[in-house]
C-alpha cells in the first residue's frame, strides 16, 4: 500500500496526463489517431521547447520572463538572416540567443538584481530590438532553406520539431542526472549559499541555466517560423504564460530544487490536452477560460509533491 502511494506521488503528473487523455478521448475518439496526435504535437512543439528551457532557471529558483520575447526576437533574426546565411542562420541565432541568455544569468550575479527584474527588463529590450529590426513589419522566410523545411516536415511519421523537442529534453534530462553541472543545479535551487561555499561556480551555473532557456526559446521561435513561414516582432509573445503554466503543472517547484525537464514536458502535454478538452467541450467561449483556469489549478494541485516543499509562498 505504501509502495502504491509512493508510486502515485512520484508519478502524479503522468497519472493526471493519462486521466485527462482518457477523458478527452472518450469525448472525441478521433484524438487518438496518430495523425491527430502528431498534428497537436507539431503545433505545440514551440511551446514545449520553451517549457523545457524554462525549467532550468526555475530549478535554480529563478524565473526567466524573457523567453517569449526571445523567441520572437530569434524568429525575426532568423528570418532576416536566412537570405544571407541560409541554414546557418539557425545555429547563429540559437548561439546568439544562448549568449544573450548567458549574459542575463551572469548579470543577475554581477549586478545582484533578481532574475524576475533582469528578465523583465530583457523582455522589454528584446521586444524593442525585434520591433526596431523589423520596423514593425512582417518578415518572410525565403522558401527552400533545408533546415526550415526539415523542421516543418516529418520523419518516421513524426513531426521533426517535436522530435527535436524530445531530443533536447532528453539531453537536458541526462545532463541533470548524470553530470556535475546537473547536480549543482539542483543543489543551487535547494540552498544557494551552501552551494557557493561548497566551491560551486555560482555565476557559471546561473549563466548556463539562462543560456539554455534562451537557446531553447530561440529554437522555439525558429520552429514557429518553420510552420508559419513569417516572423514578426510579437510572433511568439504570448508563449510566456503557457510555458510557465506547463512547467508548474509538471510539478517543478517555483522555489527551486524540485522537478525536472521530463516532468515539465509532461506538464506541457497536460496543459495542451486540457486546452483541447475545453475547446471541444462545446462550452460557450466565455466559460472556456474559466474552465481552463480551474482545471489547471486542479492539475497543479495533483502534480505538486508537497512533501518536498517547505513553506508555501
Amino acid at each position: 500500500m505504501d509502495a502504491t502511494l509512493r508510486f502515485l506521488r512520484r508519478n502524479g503528473a503522468v497519472l493526471v496526463l493519462l486521466v485527462i487523455l482518457a477523458a478527452v478521448s472518450t469525448a472525441a475518439p478521433g484524438i487518438l489517431r496518430w495523425r491527430a496526435i502528431n498534428s497537436l504535437l507539431q503545433d505545440n512543439a514551440p511551446m514545449l521547447i520553451l517549457i523545457v528551457g524554462a525549467t532550468l532557471p526555475i530549478l535554480l529558483g529563478c524565473l526567466d520572463l524573457s523567453i517569449a520575447a526571445m523567441a520572437s526576437l530569434a524568429a525575426v533574426s532568423a528570418a532576416l538572416l536566412s537570405p544571407v546565411l541560409g541554414s546557418a542562420s539557425v545555429p547563429v541565432v540559437v548561439g546568439g540567443a544562448a549568449a544573450l541568455g548567458g549574459l542575463q544569468g551572469w548579470l543577475i550575479g554581477r549586478l545582484q538584481v533578481p532574475s524576475f527584474v533582469i528578465s523583465l527588463g530583457a523582455l522589454g529590450i528584446f521586444k524593442g530590438v525585434a520591433m526596431y529590426l523589423t520596423g514593425a513589419n512582417m518578415v518572410g522566410i525565403t522558401p527552400g532553406i533545408w533546415i526550415y523545411d526539415l523542421l516543418g516536415s516529418r520523419s518516421f511519421g513524426m513531426s521533426n520539431s517535436f522530435l527535436l523537442v524530445l531530443i533536447v529534453a532528453g539531453l537536458f534530462a541526462a545532463m541533470l542526472k548524470f553530470t556535475n553541472l546537473g547536480r549543482n543545479i539542483y543543489a543551487f535551487g535547494a540552498n544557494e549559499i551552501a552551494v557557493y561555499i561548497s566551491g560551486v561556480r555560482r555565476d557559471m551555473v546561473r549563466s548556463f541555466a539562462f543560456a539554455t532557456s534562451a537557446g531553447c526559446a530561440a529554437l522555439g521561435g525558429i520552429m514557429m517560423i518553420s510552420q508559419t513561414m513569417f516572423a514578426s516582432a510579437t510572433v511568439a509573445g504570448s508563449l510566456l504564460l503557457p510555458a510557465l503554466v506547463g512547467v508548474v503543472v509538471g510539478g517543478t517547484a517555483i522555489s527551486g530544487g524540485v522537478g525536472g525537464v521530463l516532468s515539465s514536458l509532461i506538464g506541457g502535454l497536460i496543459a495542451i490536452l486540457i486546452r483541447v478538452g475545453v475547446t471541444i467541450s462545446g462550452l460557450p467561449p466565455e466559460s472556456q477560460d474559466v474552465a481552463f483556469g480551474i482545471t489547471i489549478l486542479i492539475a497543479v494541485a495533483l502534480t505538486t509533491d508537497r512533501a518536498k516543499i517547505g513553506v508555501v509562498k
Binding site: L5, L8, R9, G12, L15, V16, V19, I20, A23, V24, T26, A27, A28, P29, G30, I31, R33, A36, S39, L40, D43, N44, M47, M131, T134, A136, N137, M138, G140, I225, T228, F230, A231, S232, A233, T234, V235, A236, S238, L239, P242, I272, I274, R275, V276, G277, V278, T279, I280, S281, G282, P285, E286, Q288, A291, T295, I298, A299, A301, L302
Partner: protein, 355 residues
C-alpha cells in the same frame, strides 16, 4: 493522498462531462467562428451577421474566443481539427498575420474550408496558398480609413494645423494601413503636419495618459488627434475633457462604435470609419458555407472575389444620427439574400502593399 485520488476522479468527471456533451452534428452546417473576443461591439456585430446566415440554413455557429493570442488560436484550431474534421467550415480571425498561412494549411490538411478576416501576410493569397480550402480573405480598407479620417481632419482644420497620432500595436496590419492612409492624406493636405506619433496599443487608458502628456508638452499647438481606433479616440477625448478642450480639438477614430458616434453627434469628436461589420460576418460565413455545399466553385472565382474589402462608411456629424438609428434587418442576412450577389458590398480587391 486520498484527497488526491478523489480530486483526480473529480477532474476526470469534470472533463468527461463537459466533453461528452459534444454533439456530433452535421459538419456542413456548423461554422467554427474564431474571434478576438466576444465582448466588444465589432465582434458582437460580426458574430450576429455570421449567425444569421448559418441559422437561415438551419445550421449553428460555435464561437471561439482567442483573446488576440495566436498561440491560443493555433491550439483551438488544433483541438477542433485533431479528432477529424472533414468538410468543417471555419471563419477565423488570425490574431497575427504571421499565422494566417499555418491556420489555412491546417484546415486544408483536415479537409475543411475557411474564410479569414482582416489579417494575412502580404505574400500569401487564397488562390496561391491552400487554394482548395482557403475560400476568401475579407477585410476593411485600412488605408482608406486612415485617408478619409485624415481628410476629414484636414477639412475641419481648414487645411493647416498640427496633429498627433495614437497608433495601434505597431506590427498589426490595420495600424500600418491607417498610418499609410494618413500619410496619403497629408500628401494631399500639406498644411497638416504630424507633431508626434505614439503607440496606444488599441487601448483607452494608455491613450488617455499619452494624450495628457502631449497636452502638457505641446499645449494648444495640437489641433487634431488621430486615434487609430475608437477606444484610443475615447481616451483622447477623456484627456481633452480634463483639460477643458473637448470639442475644441478635433478627434478621429475608426470602428464606428456607438459611443463614438454619440460623441460625433454632440460634437466632441469629428469622425470615425465604420465598416459593415454584420455584413463582414455574414459574407464570410456565406462564402465558407457556399464552398462547402458546392454553391461556389473555388476554381471559378476571380482573385477579386477571394481577397476583397467590404464597404465602409465615414461617419461625421451629418450622418451620425442616421447611423445610430439604423437596425440591421435579419432578412438581409439570410444565406439566400447574400447568395443573390455575394460580392454586392465588396469595395474591391485588396491591393498589393497594404499587408
Amino acid at each position: 493522498m486520498m484527497m488526491n485520488k478523489l480530486s483526480a476522479i473529480g477532474l476526470a468527471a469534470l472533463l468527461a462531462s463537459s466533453t461528452v456533451a459534444v454533439a456530433q452534428d452535421d459538419t456542413s452546417k456548423k461554422l467554427y467562428l474564431g474571434v478576438g473576443n466576444t465582448s466588444a461591439e465589432y465582434w458582437t456585430q460580426m458574430i450576429w451577421g455570421a449567425t444569421q446566415v448559418m441559422e437561415s440554413v438551419g445550421g449553428t455557429v460555435e464561437v471561439i474566443g482567442n483573446d488576440f493570442d495566436p498561440q491560443k488560436s493555433l491550439q483551438n484550431i488544433g483541438a477542433i481539427t485533431a479528432p477529424g474534421c472533414e468538410g468543417c467550415i471555419f471563419t477565423w480571425f488570425p490574431d497575427s498575420p504571421a499565422f494566417t498561412k499555418t491556420f489555412v494549411e491546417k484546415i486544408a490538411d483536415a479537409g475543411g474550408f475557411i474564410t479569414t478576416l482582416w489579417n494575412r501576410a502580404e505574400e500569401i493569397h487564397p488562390w496561391d496558398t491552400a487554394a482548395e480550402a482557403w475560400v476568401a480573405n475579407i477585410s476593411f480598407d485600412g488605408v482608406d480609413a486612415g485617408y478619409q479620417n485624415g481628410m476629414a481632419l484636414c477639412n475641419a482644420m481648414g487645411g493647416t494645423g498640427e496633429i498627433v497620432v495614437l497608433q495601434g500595436v505597431l506590427d498589426n496590419a490595420p495600424a500600418k494601413q491607417r498610418t499609410m492612409g494618413l500619410e496619403k492624406a497629408i500628401a494631399e493636405c500639406p498644411g497638416m503636419t504630424v507633431l508626434e506619433m505614439q503607440v496606444g496599443s488599441w487601448q483607452q487608458a494608455p491613450a488617455q495618459d499619452i494624450t495628457r502628456t502631449w497636452l502638457t508638452k505641446y499645449g494648444d499647438r495640437i489641433k487634431g488627434i488621430v486615434g487609430q481606433n475608437d477606444a484610443m479616440a475615447l481616451g483622447a477625448v477623456a484627456a481633452l475633457r480634463e483639460a477643458g478642450l473637448a470639442g475644441k480639438v478635433f478627434v478621429t477614430g475608426t470602428d464606428g462604435s456607438s459611443d463614438v458616434v454619440k460623441l460625433i453627434e454632440t460634437g466632441e469628436m469629428l469622425s470615425t470609419m465604420s465598416g459593415l461589420n454584420e455584413y463582414q460576418g455574414a459574407i464570410a460565413a456565406a462564402l465558407a458555407y457556399g464552398a462547402r455545399t458546392g454553391d461556389i466553385k473555388l476554381s471559378d472565382l476571380t482573385e477579386a472575389q477571394r481577397d476583397f474589402f467590404v464597404q465602409q462608411i465615414l461617419i461625421t456629424k451629418e450622418n451620425a444620427t442616421e447611423f445610430l438609428a439604423r437596425k440591421p434587418d435579419p432578412k438581409d442576412y439570410t444565406y439566400e439574400a447574400i447568395k443573390a450577389d455575394f460580392w454586392a458590398k465588396s469595395a474591391g480587391q485588396i491591393p498589393n502593399g497594404v499587408n
